[in-house]
Subunit: 526 residues, 2 copies
Amino acid sequence: MSSPALLRRAPQLLRASLVARLSSSKSPAPGPSTQKSSASFSAPSFPCVDAHAVRESRLLASKNLSTAASADPDPCDTGPEPPYARPNPTSYHVYHHPHPLPLTYHPHAPLPNFDIAYETWGTLSPAKDNVILLHTGLSASSHAASTPLNPAPGWWEAFIGPGKAIDTNQFFVICTNVIGGCYGSTGPSSIEPATGKPWGTRFPIVSIFDMVRAQFHLLDSMGVHRLYASVGCSMGGMQSLAAAWLHPERVGKIASISGTARSSPSAVAMRFAQRSVLMADPNWKNGFYYDSLPPHTGMKLARQIATITYRSGPEWDLRFGRQLRPMTTSDTDTSAPDIPPALSLTHAGPARAPALCPDFLIETYLDHQGEQFCLKYDANSLLYISKAMDLFDMTHPALSALSIRRSRPHSGSSTSSESAEPSSSHPHKPSHKTSHSKSHPPPVNPPAHLSDLAQGMAPLKDIPTLVLGVQSDILFTVEQQREVADALRMGGNERVSYYELGGVWGHDTFLIDVLNVGGAIRGFLS
Amino acid sequence: MSSPALLRRAPQLLRASLVARLSSSKSPAPGPSTQKSSASFSAPSFPCVDAHAVRESRLLASKNLSTAASADPDPCDTGPEPPYARPNPTSYHVYHHPHPLPLTYHPHAPLPNFDIAYETWGTLSPAKDNVILLHTGLSASSHAASTPLNPAPGWWEAFIGPGKAIDTNQFFVICTNVIGGCYGSTGPSSIEPATGKPWGTRFPIVSIFDMVRAQFHLLDSMGVHRLYASVGCSMGGMQSLAAAWLHPERVGKIASISGTARSSPSAVAMRFAQRSVLMADPNWKNGFYYDSLPPHTGMKLARQIATITYRSGPEWDLRFGRQLRPMTTSDTDTSAPDIPPALSLTHAGPARAPALCPDFLIETYLDHQGEQFCLKYDANSLLYISKAMDLFDMTHPALSALSIRRSRPHSGSSTSSESAEPSSSHPHKPSHKTSHSKSHPPPVNPPAHLSDLAQGMAPLKDIPTLVLGVQSDILFTVEQQREVADALRMGGNERVSYYELGGVWGHDTFLIDVLNVGGAIRGFLS
């Protein structure tokens, strides 16, 4: 069938699939498009559930289209395929590392080789001493800000540029897509050299340290020996700390924004819930879905859960309260057409009876966030990177059990290395009161693991470090921010800058609060 | 096929289904039962995902068995069918109300009739003045404590009995399963009179007020005019407040434990996430699954999310920390057999490589909670009751828009009624400072809705009220507890007892902390 014919057929395919799905439920024939108040209980329908089947049909139709089109390729057909399925290396740079990358959790099976997608802003100084390596959160690409290659706004557009918090008049900023990701760096959607097919879940478990070591190979290729600063937000905060632990002599300053040095069980729980709904999607197929449809429903559900952890209740109180979603034509009830919709559900009274699908604005907000994300990001990348976050733990016993090698502190050479054995590299067990002052008193009743964390992070003791957290963050809680600052100080670091922000934006504050987050970074970097 | 033959065949059915599911993924042939560290990346398998297919096969096999058995019934066959599919009215009492129940959101279509399952403890006094009506949380049955009919421990076993916090030497305690539930009261799994089939999602949306009015019909049938107290936890706290609002002259005292007077957007968000994963389960079939398999996977995933909201991060820090799940035989890696498993994952090093399925104890805990619940409770009941909680809002504008009628305050008659019109029943707009004292100062910068809430709850102003909340509760936050107490006081209630508990148990504290929750209740009731 020709492509135009398929195009014309797509709506029928969609309807056919939807009808098949609805009739397969053996339910009464569908009635009006939402549950309505009426004198008898009508057969309900569920647009919020049907949306999954509609999306599936749309993807199937476009997949058929692109299969048909591949015989007769149309260069203008950008289609609705997921962006990660069509990497666009003209919008970023790619460093190809042709040698194996040792992996933390697979000591006998390195990654055979890898690509790192990256973008840069500003100008590298002749001495190559003005480099800021920027680490991303879970799902971000290397596109932190607009570039000539890609003029679209980046995820940290307001923070990076001439005169901005990370001033590109002064600094040369590098941001990468992490190993395990799907925006140009090697990850589970990449081709496995041994098979010529996508890795899928044959891709090895990677660690935050693996991500960072891949980044340092990129730095090596650019001749950058020492970073002016390692800066990261969320998972990037973990990378920022990990970079300094692996290469203390190559990191001039550390900024950890809403990160942690040790994932908490509650953060693990929230990521576990996301992985569980994603892996339960029949389209996930144990991670081998690249020749069929992606688990878009599982991704949508996972993103809804994630969004809850990224924001905060107080924000939603202010932003949404108990407001209803806007009325749609299918909500119209002619018995009470004059009742305004913008009131609480009970105000609206009989104008629209509540339903099991979304009634409140907060619900449509979460629905929308899930819908926007579900085809933008590779499901397996979400699984692998969220797992890497769970595994992150900088306590001394955890670090010393890792099968990774780090460069010798203060050796001045990036090639010499030693294992993470504790006694040689940090002989002094940290004191509870080391480096605390009147303005930063030592914690009262420190938990048992804090001393282990102090010992684990002792290699960072000579590096000025910014730790910034947000009191309304429920994912990387403010207690964890205090923990990082306390552990660094207990480990002997006397140059820890620590800020706690108020506000209602929760974990996402680092994306939003240019004034306060940006201000702290600017002050710390100068 | 005979029942024994089917029994013998069940394991084959299970394996066949599982193999079919695994091969349908078009993945490489399954390798070892968990991801392992090895010299090459082996084909992974996912026991945590396969568990859903295993459960499905087990249910299918038992359904075939019970279908076969129904021709030749075996009275001892209690089988693995969901308990709600086999109501057992010999373990509780049932009140049948043969008349229609008006519904808040369906003013023109009452529930044709209904059953209420209930249990009692203690002895009704001759004057019938020692009755405590106990309201449950979302998924609880009427079985709050053991009875001669059902000696199994109840969900509040430690709180109810002779000499306990709710002293059955003194009080006659009634607990019901709510309308919308699945433990003997009329709900979506009940038979719809008009069709002779289960209601499914043709069941109307019910409100907290509808639940309470059904309970008062039960009280009427018992000749109980006035409650000594209305006591409830979680959703039961909502009911407790709603009972007093509907019938202020019939409620002597109110206890709201970890409840709220107005569901917050963040609580709506967390319940929305649960409903979304449940409704996305293909087995849900728009709610018409009663002649096939229930959406057990969606229920498991929903319960995992719910469990996160019922407990707290600090508890998990203490209880699980970053401990690994116990090793299983499938984890064994002969290359490092001597490394102890009970360390953090990184300690365990090569003994067990991390996987995408659960590694940490917190994950297996959530998995287990989901698995335990997924066949115990009806999926549609979860949807309807969680929706009723979302809709609950006792602000004056919300209440006055409801199409329900409440009895006239202080009329002394349960039959006379008036609509929820505001000006007639509570003419005095509450003052910001009414009934506050030095020990209970009025809130600083009260949010706009607090005055609306005070006005809405003004009918409760003469009823002594206990409000108890928990600082680590993330579902019914401590701010919401303060809101209830503040609004009652602003509405003129001078007998509000208010307690905040510390501790790490979060929302579930009301099930666990017998000393403090029980003590406050005992003191308040005496």
